[in-house]
């Protein structure tokens, strides 16, 4: 009889270990999602900080492009003010800022003096990189949400998720113009 007892004990211990592992896995994935969201914020903020510098560098060379520059500054201020708002609203504001920046960079092509300026080139690299980082951090956030959602919905961890209140995450949808192929800049 004692052998059966040991077997039952062994099974219970095994189950406990499995439950702990599943719970920890869910916690880890949920934290990854939170972390990834914070990372998006970090990159967006970096963009806000870069833009005034960019506008100042460019202003001297592009005196006739006041409207384009103003559009960029306004879009940036609006986006920064929207930090506390929900994901859909922020996504829209950030998309508009990306659009304004893209238009500015297209206009810059007409100013060869500006394009040769070392400061501007360094800033352009930073801006390009920041745009990439925003898009990668969004990508990573969506990947994390997918992993987390999978874990909360697939068997057997969905039982665990239900018991302990792990809900899925929301994907960060983007309607920004930069996601499509940018128009080719052609010279006459």
């Amino acid at each position: 009889m004692t052998i059966a007892l040991w077997v039952i004990l062994g099974i219970i211990v095994l189950l406990v270990i499995i439950v702990i592992a599943m719970y920890n896995g869910l916690v880890r994935l949920r934290n990854q999602v939170k972390n990834a969201w914070a990372q998006i914020d970090v990159q967006l903020k970096r963009r806000y900080d870069l833009i005034p510098n960019l506008v100042n560098t460019v202003k001297g060379y592009m005196q006739h492009e006041r409207q384009t520059l103003e559009a960029v500054t306004n879009a940036r201020n609006l986006a920064q003010a929207g930090v506390g708002k929900g994901a859909a609203e922020r996504s829209k504001l950030e998309g508009e800022l990306s659009g304004a920046l893209a238009r500015l960079l297209v206009v810059v092509e007409n100013y060869p003096d500006l394009k040769a300026n070392q400061n501007f080139l360094a800033l352009q690299e930073e801006l390009t990189s920041t745009e990439n980082k925003i898009s990668f951090s969004r990508q990573y956030y969506n990947d994390s949400v997918l992993r987390y959602n999978n874990q909360t919905q697939m068997f057997p961890s969905n039982i665990m998720a239900g018991m302990f209140g792990f809900k899925g995450g929301e994907f960060f949808e983007v309607a920004a113009p930069e996601e499509k192929v940018a128009p080719k800049v052609s010279f006459p």
Binding site: F136, Y140, D143, M154, P183, V185, F187
Partner: protein, 384 residues
């Protein structure tokens, strides 16, 4: 793991012969393995870096490279930025090293920085970051140690057997009796001792090649743009410059086989890297950017499986991003890259740069005594 089992088998038979106790042999094999592992673990990455004369760079030394690495770090979910090094070498190659994701280093040759455009460079860096994230360096080090241990043990075993003869081994194990069973065991042991090192080597190289494919797949997933890495690999394959400081020990760490032109065959079983043409073909055959897409392309080309089913489950569809608009002038962009790279290298060596109004660029060496320097073209004096 095949190599691990092989080691245990070798240890078992060693013990059977020489100590009458197989567990004794196993213990000895494990002790040898443990000692070698500890040594390799703590030696770390500094040896590779010192051997390649790599120089560490910070964010301001080379912003474009630093930014690319940071972008890949974000896309892969690595927690800590790896240390970034530049190797002053016209050859095109890159490597990753380090114990694990928290203590990793990544090195790129200056030739690579000059010749590849942003997307291609990002593909290569994505590949290296994938090595870091998947702990490939640790894996290959462990595998290398297992291989070394097996070879050492098998060599000693065959040597001793040769000198002491079969009968000696048989006599020591008389406790179990039954000559027939004993002879078969002896025979199996002998065959194992001879074949083990060969099998271990083949396994080692097979593992290395598999991890390379996996790193390619991960790079495509992070960048969402497999064409970047494919195009970079093509440029690497057609370049004909050799990496000066590569040798057999450091070969597995590079992006492509650094010996491809030296006449060492690169496409057989003893190669650490899969053939580049194959890698490029698989990357270009991908329909999306997920692991499932890579697996599909891989199976199409090689008729074998690469990734386990668990890695492919529930990856969802991952769309490749569109190609960026081409640079307006490829030559101008390339010239800018070359200038940027050589400027960074001069700075790293401690040289200061002064732009003279006559158009000349003066490079002041770090050991320049005195606080003025004269321009060799126009004769103007500049303050250092």
């Amino acid at each position: 793991m095949g190599l691990g089992l092989l080691l245990l088998a070798v240890g078992y038979f060693l013990g059977l012969y020489f100590f009458g106790s197989p567990t004794g042999g196993l213990v000895i094999a494990l002790i040898v393995w443990a000692v070698m592992s500890l040594v390799a673990y703590f030696q770390g990455d500094s040896i590779f870096l010192a051997m390649s004369q790599a120089r560490k760079i910070g964010r301001d030394d080379f912003p474009r490279l630093y930014n690319l690495v940071e972008e890949m770090r974000i896309a892969s979910g690595l927690e800590k930025m790896p240390d970034i090094y530049i190797i002053d070498d016209p050859a095109l190659n890159a490597f990753a090293t380090g114990r694990g994701p928290n203590k990793a280093a990544l090195a790129v040759t200056s030739g690579l920085l000059q010749k590849l455009n942003r997307d291609e460079l990002q593909g290569v860096i994505g590949h290296e970051i994938a090595h870091i994230k998947n702990r490939d360096v640790l894996l290959m080090t462990m595998a290398g140690i297992l291989l070394g241990t097996i070879v050492i043990l098998a060599w000693y075993a065959t040597r001793i057997m040769f000198f002491s003869g079969m009968s000696g081994g048989g006599r020591r194990n008389s406790r179990s009796g039954g000559g027939q069973g004993q002879a078969i065991l002896v025979l199996v042991g002998v065959i194992l001792m001879i074949l083990a090192p060969i099998a271990a080597q083949l396994l080692y190289f097979a593992i290395s090649r598999r991890r390379e494919y996996l790193a390619d797949a991960s790079s495509a997933l992070y960048t969402r743009y497999p064409e970047g890495l494919a195009s970079a690999l093509q440029k690497l394959a057609t370049s004909d410059v050799q990496v000066r400081t590569a040798n057999k020990a450091t070969a597995p760490m590079y992006t492509i086989n650094p010996f491809q032109k030296r006449g060492m065959s690169v496409e057989n079983l003893t190669s650490t890297h899969p053939p580049i043409a194959e890698r490029v073909r698989i990357l270009r055959a991908m329909g999306g950017a997920s692991y499932a897409d890579y697996e599909r392309a891989y199976e199409q080309a090689k008729k074998q499986r690469l990734l386990p089913a668990s890695a492919l489950a529930a990856t969802g569809t991952v769309v490749m991003r569109a190609a960026r608009p081409e640079a307006v002038d490829e030559k101008v962009e390339k010239a800018a890259r070359v200038r940027e790279t050589s400027q960074a290298l001069w700075n790293l060596s401690g040289y200061r740069t002064i732009d003279c109004p006559c158009g000349a660029k003066l490079r002041v060496p770090p050991d320049h005594g005195g606080d003025t320097v004269k321009c060799p073209h126009c004769g103007r004096i500049h303050q250092v």
